[in-house]
Structure formats: C-alpha cells, structure tokens
C-alpha cells in the first residue's frame, strides 16, 4: 500500500479515537458530581433530617423540613399557574399555524426560553414583591411559572402538530363543535407528550435558585403561608453552601442529594415515557 494512503487511514483511525475519547470525557464530570454528592449526602439523610428544621449555628443536627415543604408549595403553585396557560397557548399555536399572532407568540416563546433566570427574578420582584409589599412564596411561584411556560407551550404544540389531521376531521364529521374536538379528541390523544413536557418543566424549575433570590427569599423556619417568605431546597443549598459553618455544609449536602435525585428521577422517567409513547420533544 502507498505510504500516503497508509497515512490517511492512520489519520482517520486516530481522529476516530480522539472523537470517542472526547465524547466519553463528557460523562466524567457528571459521574464525578453524582459520586461526590452521593458520598457526601447519603450519610446526612435520615428520618430526623427530613422532619426537622435547621438548628442555629453551633448546634449539630437539624433538618431541612422547611425547605422540603417550601419547595413543594412553591412548585405546586407555579405548576397551577403555568400548566393551564401553557397548554392552552400550545393548543392555540398548533391550531393557528399561519396567523400573525401565532408568529409573534412563537417568537415570544423562543425569547422566553432564553431569558436568563436572574432577569426573571428581577421582573418578578417588580411585578409581585413591590406591589404586595414584601417577599413572598407566591412571587417566587410566579417567577418559576414564567420559566415553566415556554417548555409546556413548546411540548404541547409539537405533540399536537404530530397528530394526524384525519382524527380531527373524523370528529368534525360527527358534528362535534370545536371545543369538544380539542378537549375530547385532540388533547387526550396527545396527553402523553403534553404530560412529559409538564414533567420536564417541573424538573427544570425545581432546581432554579436565581429567580427565588429576590422573591421567595428564604426563611429559616417552617412556613406554609404563601404570602410570606418561604425556604426552598435550592435557596437553602445556596445559603448554606456559601456559609462558613460545617454543620450547615452538611445540611446543604443532604439537601443537594435530595434535589439531585428528584430532578434526575423526573428527567429519566420523562425519557422513558417519551420512548414508550414515541413522542418527539
């Protein structure tokens, strides 16, 4: 064989090797993070950790019950705000492909998806915190709802676009009015795709910290009042991780592990659902 041909083949092989090495090197940081957080967090988690609120500096023990409850409330309220609006505007975009408003709405959803989370925090501060006169969990939920919206809208639109037109035509031929066609035929057919979009959006906002800094603000005590400041898992991690106390670091490691497991389980189960139902997101 010619030397230059040999060289070309060798070059091709070595570039293939390099590509494989680079591609699999991306997995390393994730494994390192997972491994470290499991190692640091697993010893901190026990029943006591889950049902108690943090102790003041200097006392060992204490838990993250306030952050767990707070995160749950903030996420549920955000989902209640965002899901109906998101699904309805997704339906609008899927049903009106050509209208001018749909063009602008689609552009807006694209823009919303890229807005840095800290900017949404600023805006929620002026929309909710200033008028209501103080930091509140509700304002945090509004900020998170704004972050959820683009994902819900996009997944709804993409799912409904994939449904065959014949479904809708058959329903119209039976004399069904528009709203019944949508609510009884189109949405039930696309429900798996819509649901996985909702789950994905919840997984995304569950770990968001920046929008909560100036809205939900954090609270060292257990609170269930959504008009008052409330603690949440990411806020607790941020505040305690940047503190100089080892006891607080321990709390933050345990909280990180719980948050990480929650987010990854949501993501992986969404993947499994989309694979099972052959939904494209």
């Amino acid at each position: 064989m010619d030397a230059s041909v040999k060289f070309r083949i060798a070059k091709s092989k070595s570039m293939q090797g390099l590509t494989i090495v680079l591609a699999f090197a991306c997995v390393l940081p994730l494994i390192a993070i997972l491994g470290f957080i499991i190692k640091a967090g697993i010893t901190k988690i026990n029943w006591h950790f889950l049902i108690h609120i943090p102790k003041p500096v200097g006392e060992t023990g204490g838990g993250i019950a306030n952050a767990l409850v707070g995160s749950l409330i903030i996420i549920v309220v955000a989902a209640v705000i965002a899901i109906p609006i998101g699904i309805m505007s997704g339906i609008y975009l899927a049903e009106n492909k050509k209208s001018t408003l749909a063009y602008w709405a689609r552009l807006s959803v694209d823009i919303l998806q890229g807005v840095p989370s800290i900017v949404i925090g600023i805006v929620a501060y002026f929309w909710m915190v200033k008028p209501l006169g103080g930091f509140s969990a509700l304002s945090g939920s509004v900020a998170l709802a704004i972050m959820m919206l683009p994902i819900v809208v996009r997944s709804t639109e993409e799912t409904l676009k994939l449904l065959p037109d014949s479904l809708k035509e058959a329903a119209y031929a039976l004399g069904m009015p528009f709203h019944r066609v949508i609510l009884k035929v189109i949405v039930p057919c696309g429900i798996s795709g819509i649901l996985s979009g909702v789950m994905l959006s919840i997984a995304r906002i569950a770990g968001e910290t920046a929008p909560l800094l100036f809205t939900a603000f954090g609270n060292p005590y257990l609170s269930t009042n959504i008009t008052k400041p409330m603690q949440s898992l990411p806020l607790l991690i941020f505040n305690y991780a940047t503190s100089p106390y080892n006891d607080w670091h321990d709390l933050a490691w345990g909280a990180s592990l719980i948050l990480l497991i929650f987010v990854l389980v949501l993501n992986i189960s969404t993947k499994l659902i989309t694979n099972k139902w052959k939904v494209q997101l």
């Binding site: 680079l22 997995v27 919303l112 800290i118 805006v123 993501n267």
Partner: protein, 329 residues
Amino acid sequence: MDSTFNRDLVAPSEVAQGVIQSTQKLKGLQAKKRLNRSFRQIRTENVFKRTLVIMGLIMVILVFGILLTLIVQSIPSIKALGLGYLWGKTWDPVQDIYGAFPFLLGTLITSFLALLISIPFSMGVAIFLGEYYPNGWLSNILKNVVELIAAVPSVIYGFWGLAVLVPIVRSFEPKIGVPPIGVGIFTSSLILAVMIIPYAGSLGRSMIQMVPSPLKEGAYALGATRWEVIRRVILPYTKSGLFAGILLSLGRALGETMAVTMVIGNTSIIPKNIFAPGNTMASVIANEFTEADKSVYLSALIELGLVLFLVTLVINLIGKRVISRFTNE
C-alpha cells in the same frame, strides 16, 4: 301538524287526541331544546376560541412586559449615569460611582473561555453520536447522559465546584505563578464549560444526522477515508447548524447565575488575569440586588439585567433563525 286536519279524517277518540297533543308538545320542546343547545355550543365554542387567542396573546404580553419593566426601572440609572456607565471602570456604590465595565469584561471572559473549553467536547459528542455510532445501546446511554448534564441544577454545580474544583485549582495555581485563591474566572469557566456541553452537543448531533447520505457515499466512492468525509463533507455541510448550537450554548453561558456566583470570587475590580477573582453581570445582580439601598444603585443593577436580556435575546434569535433555516432547506 294541523289538528283540524286530523279531526276531519278520522274521528279521534279522546285518548288519541291526548297522545297527539302531547307528542306535538314534546316535539316542540325538543326542537327548542336542540336549538338552545346548538346556540349554547356555538357560544361555548366562541368563548373557547377567544380564550385560546388570549392565551396566545399572554406570551407576547409577557415578553413585552419583561422588556418594558426592565427599561422603565433602569431609567433612573440611564438618566443619572448616561451611556458612559457601560464602560466606567470603577464600581463603588458606597461613593456612588457606578461603572459596569468590570462585569461586562467578566461575563465576556468567562463565557468565551467556557465556550473554548467546551467546543472540542461538544463537537466530539456531536460527531460520535451523529456519524460514528448513531444507534446502539452505548450511544443511547451516552446521548441520555449528556442530556442529563443539562438537568443538574446550577446551584449543585456551584456547590460541587466550591467543594471539589476550587481546592484543585488552588493547589496548582502556585505552580504557574499566580496567588493560590482557587475561586476566580478560570474556575467558573471550567464549571460553565461542563454545563453548556449538552446544548451544542445534542443540537450538533441532530444536524449531523441530517446530512444526506448520497453526499457521504459520493465522497466514499472517490476514495475518501472516514475522517476525510467528516472533515470535507459533513462539517462544511452542517457548518451553520453547528454554529447555531454554539451560539445557543453561549447564550446559556452568558446568563448563567448561581454556579458562577458561587465560584467566581465576587470582587468588582477589573480582573488582571484569568485566574483572578471577578464578577459577571448575573452574579453581581444576584449578590447586590437585595442590598441596594439607593435608587440609582438598584437601577444600575437593573440596567445590567436589561443589557443581559438584550444580549441573550439577540444571540438566541440568531441561533434559532439559523437552525430553522437549516432544517427547512
């Protein structure tokens, strides 16, 4: 039906008469009901359609609302500080001196350094999954794992960086002749690089998979090796798509807040080298927003938010436009 006509033909018994009358009544009622129902349905249909339009409008209103809020709230700082604010070199709120240049520089350096570090890896993922092994369980796992990188909350990246990466960086900093601080621009770029790999990677993969196979087969038939096909056919063909993926990950890097805030060191001095601590636009907002006691101070921070919003908006729109043009071709 006419009742007199009926009476002429047959002599109806009283029972039959009653039956006829009641059925007539019933039919009238039914017709009325049916009419009512279709009216109601038409009304519901219109209400439903109108609600959908309003929901579509909400998206547009949200974006305009965000833009408007940012502009209105940053007017005090624009009035007081003018355009020079953006390249003022000192940031000292205590003495009412506001200059955003340290943060602009910090944001640009961290983002581009992160981009530089992440490009080889994200392109490796894209080429590996798009061309070498598009199918199979191994590639499936790699694909999902890379997407999970984007799912990990940024505050957890920050905490991990603080606990693991900062000591590592601190330990090798004296060897290259810089003070061992650990936190700084270089550390935050490393964390950012990991965080933005999935964006360019998975987009690049789908772009590379769309290259028509006749093009590749033609090159193979001419005797090209696998790498030459990638280098001379696939990469030129997907150039714009790969560029868009890199743009989108740049957009993410610019706006990333928490991880950067935790490891960049938070000083408002212009960084002397890439190992020095600094601040980005997002991190200075996160740190100082709740402490801002003067209206100009607060407004100056919001103006940073406005700049951040506009820059990410432009970058994202260009990226999306390039992608949609590429996929429609």
